[in-house]
């Protein structure tokens, strides 16, 4: 019997207009993360991704999609909807970064007040949209796209459209991105 080849699942749908994209739109290297704002492993990956972005500069496009695992992380859905509500005010990446940089205090009583000072946002509108779950559909859409793409936990990365099953460290990610670019 021949050994069956293992094929990593593919990203569905591919990166498109609906996505939150950081970096040059024409960049050939594309890194997609499915993440959960309350997941400590995503928190640990956050500075690594930043470092990868800094290293590759305009050669890299970074995309973030929501994958809140609410059975383990009670604050994750709220946080994902908060980032989407900030996106509605053109501040997705600011909020994305803020949530990861303050992961330890997610769900603290004064959390909203803190970011009101730091981010220039209409907090009243944001709170209202989060309370009314205006963006829950978008979060669920991301989540199910992840499930259908073979996301199995967080963080899960896709490089060049294929699931990256390697270690999410700086050097392995750079190596995988460069390899994917060469095809």
């Amino acid at each position: 019997m021949t050994t069956p080849k293992y094929q990593a699942p593919r990203l569905t749908p591919p990166v498109g207009e609906r996505d939150h994209i950081e970096g040059s739109l024409s960049a050939r290297m594309v890194l997609v993360e499915y993440g959960d704002y309350q997941c400590p492993y995503c928190g640990a990956a956050y500075p690594i991704v930043k470092k990868v972005q800094k290293e590759l500069g305009t050669k890299l496009r970074f995309v973030f999609r929501n994958f809140p695992i609410t059975t383990s992380h009670p604050q994750a859905e709220w946080a994902a909807e908060t980032a989407e509500a900030a996106a509605a005010q053109g501040k997705f990446w600011e909020m994305h970064d803020f949530l990861y940089e303050n992961q330890a205090s997610l769900g603290d009583h004064g959390f909203f007040a803190t970011y009101e000072k730091k981010l220039e946002l209409d907090v009243k509108r944001l709170e209202q949209e989060v309370a009314q779950h205006v963006h829950s559909g978008r979060v669920q859409e991301d989540f199910m796209s992840g499930v259908r793409s073979g996301v199995n936990g967080t963080p899960t990365f896709f490089i060049g459209g294929a699931r990256y099953d390697g270690y999410p460290g700086f050097a392995p990610l750079i190596a995988a991105l460069e390899k994917a670019e060469k095809g």
Partner: protein
């Protein structure tokens, strides 16, 4: 591209088209679950190596969150590992799991072996999935490479195919 290798040649899951062997396993100290209890409904059988896997938001936590999706197919999900019922109870509570975990504990791994997914080298079940149709026939099986969590895309596709089967035979 990674080669799909299993370190144990004997790990070879029962294939699609095979009748799913019945079993009766403990799910709590005084409750048993039999596969035949679910005849008439699809069953997703998820063998996994051990409770308390250190992976964040692991496979079973993901499946717990996807129960509403599985329920759309009227499917039942059963987790199986060689852990004892007390471990299952604590693990299930800790991870908010909303489906039964079955204990393939005594004799150890017997049911995993029947399904071809007992890894003797470490005395645990392999990470393997089966989708069984309402008549008790395996329609899809999958063995995940070591250390790779298979996610749920294969399960959902297999459940969809039960509804509108591709007739190859």
């Amino acid at each position: 591209m990674k080669e799909f290798q299993t370190k144990n040649q004997k790990v070879s899951p029962l294939k699609a088209g095979t009748k799913a062997p019945n079993f009766t396993l403990k799910t709590t100290p005084d409750q048993h679950v039999s596969l035949r209890d679910f005849l008439g409904r699809p069953v997703v059988l998820c063998f996994y190596p051990a409770d308390w896997s250190p992976v964040c938001s692991d496979q079973l936590g993901l499946y717990a969150q996807l129960m509403p999706e599985f329920r759309k197919f009227d499917a039942e999900l059963l987790g199986v590992s060689v852990d004892g019922v007390w471990s299952h109870l604590a693990f299930s509570k800790d991870r908010n799991l909303n489906f039964p975990l079955l204990s393939d504990f005594d004799p150890k791994g017997a049911i995993s072996q029947t399904y071809g997914v007992f890894a003797e080298r470490n005395g645990e079940s392999a990470r393997a999935l089966f989708v069984i149709d309402p008549k008790g026939i395996i329609r899809w099986s999958y063995l995940s490479p070591d250390g790779v969590n298979p996610g749920a895309d294969g399960i959902l596709s297999a459940l969809e195919n039960l509804k509108s089967p591709h007739r190859n035979d």
